[in-house]
Symmetry: C2
Subunit: 261 residues, 2 copies
DNA sequence: TAGCGGTGGTGTACGTTGTACACCATGAGT
DNA sequence: ACTCATGGTGTACAACGTACACCACCGCTA
């Protein structure tokens, strides 16, 4: 797949077989296939297995072959009866995670965006690969649309123009996905370097850092890298930054709309 | 490459030929090869060509074959005399961009981080692919280290602990890279949909949206999607959000250290 | 009950990717 | 003039997504 270069709306129209009508790359409009009793595969089973497979190893990359094997099917081509393309499958996985995010309704814009931030952060931590995928495709699945719709609905009373309204939501989600991507990278790096403890990780780069330290270069960076406190929890936690962003967004509102906390 | 699954510190040690000693995946320690007068390739030429190639098409994906062709060389393997692996080459490209970022010195922490944010944002806009690559590998090249060192040096007088110090820098760079990735995705989507104007883009998703609108679903989202104002510049610009983040970071400092503006 | 057609999994195959390996042409040093 | 490292070439392979032909089987109608 490689950053979904193959996924163009124009040409994915003709990728799937004509028995099951395709929907132009926008996979979410297929009605469920007329089920036969004996089928061992289904779109739901495939998506669920793909998500488990992505959860299992750290970068969250899946291959159609590995997925077919996990589903007990010998040919990867069997999956193409149900999903049209790997990119379409990834769209479905992504939207499934969007479905795990909720927006609190009726408690005002700040509570809505706070809840959006918190629940999406939890979803990202459950499925680290989601951060990467959500960044690289437009949020157009039914669950994503439902989510955006709920968030925009809560912003409606503020009377903001369209661009600003969506900007509020994107500010929050951008923070979530950015933090998630950084987290994913940290995990990936740990998986690359044999084992996962902090001391293992430190030992892997130690010779490189020593060489720099010996040359007397970058003293402030070396000072950080050799400080045992460097792994302490930072005050700039996800939640703290989210609050800063919400405070910033609040400054765009008339004073009477800025909720107290 | 595919999100550099192949790039493990342990095994990239043996990827390059033994004529040019490799440095364990950390490519930045090769001294320049003893030059011969007649060589048509060099590490510098390769990295420069790779950056131009990545700048040329939107997702910024390069292949060794395309790069070899651009350099007028028939075999992609010629490049492996100079770079060890594609992942190592990408490390070099990434660090080259880090070299375009500067940190103002001597004007205090806020000016330093502001300058860091501004210049890195400019670099990201020049080389959109940088946002993707910087997210997926640790910043360990000489230019990256120099940059982190300079930023940390400017934070030194604040007397913060190590984790918080680095957190200040990462907060800014996280915002830059997150915004850059969103920008890259927008450009990629435009490139997928035939041409690049806003109306083209809108026309591409219009039938899908109409179907949703006709079903009466997601009215608030549809309201945004059909609002001609939705493309207006948002108040949550990159610079504005950066200011919010700096304001937030300032709250972690004793009052006398928060600079006025 | 015989046959027929569509459904769903199989097997093979192709193009593209990164890159290992053997090969050889050339120019510098003895 | 012989040697030999240097640097570009060509071939080859594994893994990927996926197109295509194939066939086993089930439910239907005759």
């Amino acid at each position: 797949m490689v950053y979904n270069v193959h996924h163009r709306y124009s040409e994915s129209t003709m990728t799937s077989s004509e028995r099951r009508p395709d929907t132009g790359g926008l996979v979410w409009f297929d009605e469920p296939a007329p089920p036969r009793a004996t089928e061992q595969l289904s779109r739901e089973r495939i998506v669920a297995a793909a998500m488990e497979l992505a959860d299992d190893q750290v970068p969250g990359e899946i291959t159609m072959r590995a997925l077919a094997a996990r589903l007990g099917v010998r040919s990867p081509m069997a999956l193409y009866r149900y999903v049209g393309s790997k990119d379409g499958l990834v769209d479905l996985m992504t939207d499934q995670v969007y479905g795990q995010i909720t927006v609190p309704r009726g408690d005002g814009w700040r509570a809505a965006l706070q809840g959006l931030g918190r629940t999406s952060w939890e979803a990202v931590q459950r499925h680290l690969w989601f951060a990467r995928l959500a960044f690289s495709r437009p949020p157009m699945g039914p669950n994503a649309l439902h989510l955006y719709d709920a968030a925009l609905a809560e912003l409606e009373p503020l009377g903001l123009d369209a661009a600003t309204r969506m900007g509020f939501v994107k500010t929050v989600l951008g923070h979530v996905l950015g933090s998630g991507l950084a987290l994913l990278e940290e995990h990936t790096m740990r998986a690359r370097v044999g084992l996962h403890s902090d001391s293992d990780l430190h030992a892997a780069v130690a010779p490189y850092l020593e060489r720099i330290a010996a040359a007397g270069e970058h003293p402030h960076f070396i000072g950080w890298a050799t400080d045992p406190q460097r792994l302490a929890p930072e005050p700039q936690s996800f939640e703290q930054v989210l609050e800063w962003l919400l405070d910033g967004l609040a400054t765009l509102l008339p004073p009477e709309d800025r909720s107290p906390a």
